[in-house]
Symmetry: D2
Subunit: 435 residues, 4 copies
């Protein structure tokens, strides 16, 4: 690994949690250079919803390459792009009665967010954007201003936030405060000092923020005040979309229809850089060329993305995700029951669940213990207090069982290490032998 220490910037991070050098990957499995196998419950932070190297996409890609298909096309028309747009319209937009237009920004999530926010400001002619506590929207200057995490914000090296209004997310103060009531009060009060925003940007589940779930009712009320006060609603579905919660869009369950939607991560299906911004017609306001970017036309990604959409032509995939999510939840709950010493509680929904523990540092220890046992899992939350499971959606029962066993063992090891399993010691060992 010396070349990394020798030459790569110290900013690198996940490689510190997963200290090995990976070489191959397939489905929900990865292998390092020594041939050791890992169970991937991390999925490229939500980029590999369909698993590593899915066969249909891989061969579509190889075929395209062999034929000298256009690899890089800026925003020129290409056959690969046309085929993606046609299928996206048929499979995603039309069945949902959406008349959004598709904008290809630079092929990353933060590019999508920056584009969404520019379009919102330009549409409304106002500068302020509302973002929520513990939001994560990316690391370029515009997106970072919208992001909550203080360590990441300090990376800007300058004060942030002149154009961002921070509001408390759903449940931020538990039952002590109705966060939508508060938000609305500031809009209705001409003395609030909160200037009318152009838009509100929201993740329906805050992934990096700790798997905080916005309720359906909260999302509906949020959309309601956006409509009432002439603000646009932007859904950042970069991590939580593309089927992560079962439906293609995470907000479908709530029955809302955001004006602007950001997709990236799993949109290409294969982990290739790609992003799209869906714009309600009245938000499609840029002049030609007013937003651009060199890699908007990553045609290899269009090839795999088109293939990936086939999962959404029927209801089968959605149902698979729902049933896996249900199974995962039930297994997580037994772990929660069995390790009360870690003060665990459940977080998230869909295939984006986890367990918050206390003290927060133990989440990192659990992740490390899991890695030693051959499983990749991330932590999340303001204090990195949540053990966050983000497996590929194509996970099967065998993979889930194996992963959950490793997770249980990792909880047990960490609990024991800190003497936090005493109270429930017997129960734990009994259950473990039974599993």
């Amino acid at each position: 690994m010396s070349i990394f220490n020798d030459v790569e910037s110290s900013v690198r991070s996940y490689c510190r949690s997963f200290p090995t050098t990976f070489e191959r990957a397939s489905g929900y499995r990865m292998w390092d250079q020594t041939g050791r196998e890992y169970l991937d419950f991390f999925a490229g932070a939500g980029t590999l919803n369909y698993g590593h190297n899915p066969d249909d996409m891989k061969w579509a890609l190889i075929r395209y390459l062999t034929n000298d298909g256009v690899a890089h096309g800026l925003d020129m028309h290409t056959g690969a792009k046309a085929r993606f747009l046609e299928r996206f319209k048929e499979v995603i937009l039309e069945p949902r009665d959406m008349d959004h237009r598709v904008l290809f920004p630079g092929p990353t999530g933060t590019n999508a967010v920056e584009t969404a926010v520019k379009a919102a400001r330009l549409t409304k002619g106002r500068d302020k954007i509302v973002s929520f506590t513990n939001a994560f929207h990316g690391m370029t200057l515009g997106s970072l201003s919208l992001t909550g995490n203080s360590m990441k914000r300090e990376g800007a090296g300058m004060p942030l936030g002149g154009d961002v209004i921070r509001m408390p997310f759903c449940g931020y103060m538990d039952d002590e405060m109705d966060t939508i009531d508060y938000f609305e009060r500031t809009l209705e009060d001409p003395g609030s000092g909160i200037d009318l925003p152009a838009a509100v940007i929201v993740e329906t589940i805050q992934g990096e923020g700790g798997l905080n779930v916005a309720t359906k009712e909260w999302l509906q009320r949020l959309q309601g005040i956006c409509r009432k006060h002439d603000m646009l609603l932007i859904a950042d579905d970069i991590q939580v979309g593309c089927g992560r919660t079962g439906k293609f869009f995470s907000f479908e369950d709530a029955g809302i229809k955001p004006d602007i939607i950001c997709l990236s991560k799993s949109i290409s299906g294969f982990g290739l850089p790609m992003a799209i911004v869906l714009l309600a017609p009245e938000c499609d306001v840029f002049e030609p060329g007013q937003h651009n970017g060199t890699f908007r036309g990553n045609n290899l990604a269009f090839v795999t993305a088109t293939q990936a959409l086939e999962r959404w032509a029927t209801k089968d995939f959605e149902q698979h995700v729902h049933s896996m999510a249900k199974a995962m939840k039930s297994k997580l709950e037994t772990i929660i029951d069995d390790f009360p010493g870690l003060k665990p509680y459940h977080k998230g929904r869909g295939m984006m669940q986890g367990i918050a523990v206390e003290p927060a540092e133990l989440a990192g220890e659990i992740s490390a213990a899991a890695f030693e046992r051959g499983m990749l899992i991330e932590t999340a939350g303001a204090h990195d207090e949540v053990v966050k499971l983000l497996p590929p959606l194509i996970l099967d029962a065998e993979g889930l069982d194996k992963g959950m066993s490793i997770l249980r063992e990792s909880f047990a090891e960490v609990a024991a290490r800190h003497g936090l399993d005493e109270e429930s010691g017997n129960v734990v060992s009994l259950k473990k032998s039974a599993s």
Copy 2:
């Protein structure tokens, strides 16, 4: 083409200049869906320095895919990344006596610029960045603030520039003003109102800005005042680097050593999204994870990028570029001589040359006339007054001749259309028949 009109955002732009749907590409040639061939003197706006689908890279990619190599790796260690870093160190860094560290930002140019600027501010603890007139650095909020173009700036939908100090580029006022003298005066004068910047960001040739060339002496003096006044020097080599001027870095000719260097576009060699930021050791200041991004580990790009570096292991490629650039310049000069009615003058250097014409609109007409003849060429400059040639560096004599013929014909057509060839009418027709 109806799907594009039907579904894609109106922001799309190059497809309006090149109104067809492309399907295949190889070397400096592209083919549309009808099989028509085009000469590509545009090269993905500088992303395809090695041409479309170079054979060695293509097969390295297919091999990697077939073996289920890791496609997407965030910032985890992978074999593909290790191989890139090793070769980059051997072929690029060590021979140039550079001890810069390699940071992988999100895989686009604007991500690289945002990262560079964050690192600069964090290193120096100051917020201001100097950027030049007619600079182009990208379209996310931080980069857009640094960009000059007013139409693109207005796309932000909000006032920009609080943290940017604009300075005149080399030759901005022709001989009327020494722009480095002026810059330095503002630094030395405690009453100038120009707060000490953290860094200066510069393109050695302003590509989008109109092929404005910074002289060697100007760059050396710029580095001089950066050193003297404790400001970092950031080279944005995204379009002008990776061999575009002959040397790997565009600033090598000037003998300067920027503290931070942004590379993207042609760094992957194949048009795949990738970017790197080179940081002098004292600028490698981010904490682990303080800057991140989902697609930092686009391993397919690492595979092609590693292959692309082989062009730089010897001097042959560099010499090829120099000789092509020289030939291109001499051919452009004959066109300039032959169409005085368009008030043409030469711009740029290396394989990034062009002709400014007057009135500015004629540049677009020339580009359109060339497209009709089967050649892609872009325009650039504040008024889009420059016909800009950016062919793949692998262009050969045959391709150059063919391209230059088309360019000449296009000039002739546009000059004739506007009655601007009268004065020199005979000369033109004589030369044309001779060519």
Copy 3:
């Protein structure tokens, strides 16, 4: 009045509420050019706490002028300034065990606030300042950013607020939300997106904001989180200080000790422009000349201010204010009881009380009705829904009775005009005849 229409800017405002031309004034009475007398329950928006032209100050001023005392002294030492500082130390600082240093900013409230905020940022090296909903801190750019009122904010002609964090004031959501809990949560949560502020600026009673009173407990808790999280506490005592609530400082009742205190309005005692900023020693961080201003040395104001301080050498004046405030409250409550149709409720404390009515426009009508009867009263609040009484503190029983009669008649007239006195009609008329 034609010269005003002819030449003065349309921004003028109070002259529209009180449409006459005033010539003379004494105590709590004013006379216009026709000799008509007015009862002043407005006191220069809190600038004339000691009434118009108090005799002792007037003659001190005439004596000083006659002797050719220095009128304008910048920040040079003068005898008049020395005498003010000595007496301020003896009468105000020492008895309260305060070691604050006195800074003379430009002689207006907004200058004091701007200075306070600069000192706070410089002391802490951070840019953000917390300000509250419905705050009013002044109209220059820094102060206006801290101010809540949207109409006034729009006067900036540009987006405001990049360096201001808005928090809900005491009772902003009634009982629905503990606003200090919420504030503290954002400070303790590293994902809140609320950067650690340099300081919090607060009015203990929001005068312009509608006579919103911060409770003692709330102020104590606010000071508590400031201390805990290393933020400075700035008290804007410009309108509410100088005895308006009985004590010299409005925050004395809460037992807190702000790090920085802004005084203006009644500090000169005579209505002459003057302001001071009190800085805890660790906040006295400016270099000599780093903040300046032409009229810092308004020595005529120092002369009257020194005289005014004599009111605070004993407890008599404070006791007078308390008893008048108590009497005013009881009279206001009978009005509230008698006009339920206006949905009135009591606001404020000390000699800064009022009645909120519904619909909001009626407050303006009541003020106008009072003016017709010869009394000046202002309205306040986000919707100008509060009839705000701010009489000189030297008001006596006769003046109070007369003012309250006029107020009652004005309520009655407006209630009758809108048919809002029906329910309680008899009671009203009976009480009126008795008064």
Copy 4:
């Protein structure tokens, strides 16, 4: 002087240059508490153009006070204000064919500048304001952003300048650069990165900046590009207006007509806090109350200001100023000739002249030497390198002679102290004995 050390903020500054405690003042003379007399060539930094305690104003003030005239009137109509407006219209506006409206901001220069800039932004709907190198416009946040001095800017404790575009003042690069050409180029070039400003703010002579004089031609060209590019022209005549250059407005000589004009300092004539903003009718855009301030109605200042205007009813005063200025210039030139060792050169015009010396520190020494001899003179310039003379305009031949003698002696002392009189030693001593 212990009370100042004991209690006053360390920010105080002029008292350090003039270390005594002043008590009385009349005309161009001041006396300290010990009775020592000083010649005032400083005039409250330009506030006392008519000298200290001019008799007519003093007695008008005493009469007004004795009659219980309204002292403080917010923006209510008063007789004193009406009389000022009538006379201002007759004596200033009408003879100059100006239809500007008069806005009373808070009574300080920085309030006037903040108001001007708000009105300009609101009028044009743009946020950027152009300000010049070495400008001084005040110390509140908006004005400070426009100010050049780095020490003063750092006092903000936060980054400044997001909405300010800095341009080089007349002669900033001597003959090397035509600063208006450069400014205009950035306006005409859509790639300059300089967003179209709402307005330009300029001092015709930069007082604090070092007596830098804008030529008539430069001012005319500046007005020209303002008109051409739809930018407002704001004249900050706070220090340089009210007759300092002979004419009432400093820009009259150049024949330009700014859209917005800021006056303060000497407008009240007596050193009392007062400021006005003159707005061309199309800039009078505030809604009633959209800009306000407690001390807009400092009626004592209106009384003296009305009296002061009588100086402008005939040409006598203007001619007196011109002849004094001419005499001052000729005397300064002999000093310049006689002390070549200090590399002196003349700066300024009108009654605002001075001598720049080298090294810069000597200016402070000369000021100190003059103070020891009983004369107050300020220094100015980015390095405080200019000995700046700003005597009251009522200076007479006797006062000028006396002041110039002291100045010559101070130059001689400082030159001798540093051995800088050697070269021209004989000449100096000869001339000195002759003077």
